[in-house]
Amino acid sequence: MRTFFIVPARCVAALCVLLGCALPAVAQQAPAPSAAADASKFAASSTLADPLANYYGNTLVCAAALTQNDLCHLWLYRDGSFINFDANGAHTGHYSVGPMRPDGKVPVCQYWDTVNMLMPAEIAAVQKMPGPPPGAAGGVMICENKDFRTTCRRGVDPATLSEEQKKAANRTMGERFHNGMCYPLGPHNVGDIWWETDDPLPGQAGADKLLLLPGHR
């Protein structure tokens, strides 16, 4: 499923010799830094290296757009596994990586190992579970995966759904992630803070805030 190659440093060096180190030369000739330039530079270097390299050993945090509270923390491991945790628990799982998009982002589809949402009844009784984002319309939310992209539609009238779609709409959060949720991860460095507007991330105001923290936290 993974469509990129992890190339050891010695192979990169060998390829560099073969190619006459064309890639660094291209990078040096690049125009003034911009998001597009960064993306293309990243895309070029990613043909030789793992585009998720900066995520391994570090922590990707998703935060709500309006409150900016951190909602989820993700530890991606190089072996294709991950740990994802939030206020309601932690989950192990595996991920698959789709082909790099023209904007330099790679879609990462997460599959939780279990559908468990472990919470003692005493805590669940007093803990406010996250509800729909402010301004969300009524109806149900349905998420569908196609070509490494998850599209979630909110406020869908259940009467318009097929039986199969109704089952998908009734999934718990655990079931949704067990069946796979794909997120595009862009070229970022440790310490970066950025805003993401891709489906299905937006939870508040059509955007999510993301932080790439050093180390596992």
């Binding site: 951190d70 945790f85 932690a90 180390g215």
Partner: protein, 161 residues
């Protein structure tokens, strides 16, 4: 007599000794597994709640000696930057179980790079590289105890992860 025939008794004896050793090892492994005070933890999640701060922890103990701890510290007073503060935190490392005549201590070693997390600053359970009182439990148990700084803490051992 051929060399093979000469060696046959020795080979049989070695095979028997090997088999005995194998059986003994299997028996030891079985009794060790039965007696492992952590056995019920390997496929469960230990959840705790500090009754003073209401911070929650989740602890995974893996059979390979690795542990993972996760925290929900509740909403923070300011918007987090790269250094925090975070509502949710986690850390990982290795552990050993000290057995002092049936009195157990769970000793945690935090993996590098060691980051001082908010849970550690707040003195929450299992957040520091330290030895913590430990008692064997079975999945479904709930109990009360004190944390290292004397705060009342509630624990649950829940089946699954």
């Amino acid at each position: 007599m051929t060399p093979t025939k000469l060696l046959a008794p020795c080979l049989l004896a070695l095979a028997a000794a090997g088999a005995t050793t194998h059986w003994a090892a299997a028996a030891d492994a079985k009794s060790a597994a039965t007696a492992d005070p952590l056995a019920n933890y390997y496929t469960s999640t230990l959840i705790c709640e500090d009754q003073t701060t209401k911070a929650q922890c989740r602890l995974w103990l893996n059979p390979d000696g690795k542990y993972f701890a996760f925290y929900n510290l509740g909403p923070q007073s300011k918007v987090p930057d790269i250094n925090g503060p975070f509502q949710v935190e986690g850390r990982e490392g290795t552990y050993t179980l000290r057995d002092d005549g049936g009195v157990y201590q769970l000793c945690l070693w935090v993996a590098a790079p060691r980051i001082r997390i908010g849970a550690e600053v707040a003195g929450e359970m299992y957040s520091e590289a330290a030895c913590y009182p430990f008692a064997p439990h079975k999945a479904g148990d709930a109990w009360n105890d004190k944390d290292l700084v004397g705060r009342d803490t509630k624990f649950w051992l829940m089946k699954g992860r």
